[in-house]
Symmetry: none
Subunit: 226 residues, 2 copies
């Protein structure tokens, strides 16, 4: 299956070249043009690896690394123009996984990204399938089985459930659900949440009136409880 890389790079030409090359090698690519949006993108898209240029306009590269390391262990590959060892050491110390110096060969960069993802997966293998009670959620095939038999979900129901499954056990805020399932601009359509949470419960819960897995936290959001 294909992996997702977040490219944080402020120079448009290089960002574009990287995106094209990565896509042609089967990566799913998300780009951000500065540190702050890079941190945001990492939080919302959950990439498998981050490719981070140290020379950003808004934040020092080390701040971005710290900002990521505060909450995620996603592998970080640093890209830098500086030849010398000083901030290489600093970056690696802060928690970066690898370091590539400009100019670089695209082949080498690809190899290092692949290696970073591979190492991370050895430590914590990617789950393409999530099990919750009698529920088996197959993220790759976009399917749910309840006690062994397939359950039919509509596209929107699936998008909702998938989002919760990817954040298993974590509370997903109302606004994030609305934004990621219905798109930006729907952050205040709270009614949708209630309708679709009810539909999912009817299809997935043993007792829809007293859900044990798809739990509401009033005023905040929803959680898929293991």
């Amino acid at each position: 299956m294909s992996h997702k890389v977040l490219v944080v790079e402020d120079e448009p030409a290089l960002a574009r070249a990287l995106a094209i090359n990565l896509r042609s090698h089967g990566w799913e690519v998300v780009t951000a043009a500065d540190g702050r949006s890079g941190l945001d993108a990492a939080a919302t898209t959950h990439p498998d690896v981050v490719l981070l240029d140290l020379g950003l306009p808004d934040l020092d590269g080390t701040e971005v690394i710290s900002g990521l390391r505060g909450w995620t262990s996603v592998p970080i590959v640093v890209l830098s123009a500086r030849q010398h060892g000083e901030d290489k050491v600093e970056a690696l110390d802060l928690g970066a996984d690898d370091y590539v110096t400009k100019p670089f060969a695209m082949n080498e960069l690809m190899a290092r990204l692949r290696a970073a993802v591979r190492r991370a997966e050895e430590v914590a293998p990617t789950v393409s399938t999530v099990q919750v009670g009698g529920l088996l959620i197959d993220l790759a095939r976009k399917r749910v089985a309840r006690d062994g038999t397939d359950v039919r979900l509509t596209p929107t129901e699936w998008a909702f459930l998938e989002l919760l499954a990817r954040n298993l056990g974590r509370l997903v805020p109302r606004e994030q659900v609305l934004r990621e399932v219905w798109g930006p601009g729907y952050e205040h359509e709270g009614h949708y949440l209630r309708v679709y949470a009810a539909q999912l419960r009817r299809k997935l819960e043993d007792n829809p009136a007293h859900p044990r897995h798809l739990v509401t936290t009033s005023g905040l959001g929803y959680t898929l409880e293991p």
Copy 2:
């Protein structure tokens, strides 16, 4: 088996010479005389490799490379009169796989084309045959047999089926089918999907009205079920 090469070359004499030589070496050859028709041809004929002359009348060669890399990872071998490294680097960075400078030896060109195809097949190893129920799908020979007897498919039907077969058991999203079978820009032509899914079912399913192999998931896409 024979591979298909798309030759994008504006100079008629050279295009003809290339076509003759390639055919005599067992290649199936499709030609295009400018960038735009080259992109079209790539989308409609699905070559195994593209041989691209950078000096085209209508588009910059780099635009052609980007246009291809937006949706396909077919290997690209660039042909150029310019001796020096600048646009070589640019072409390779944009996602070209190899670079040949004019004048060139036909032998060498052949070897590089073969190598490009070989590398591509190593990255995405070809399972040469897929069996689902009474269907035997031979990816290498581009053939389908149903209960032992050959079934005639049109090129488009084949492209559709091949895509599903290469993702056996996985859901292939509507947009991906449209993009990879009809080319970029056709992502919203949902009607094509219905027409061709029906044709394939008529030819391949025991009961076309209740398909057991070519299954559609409403709003999402199609799956070839083992």
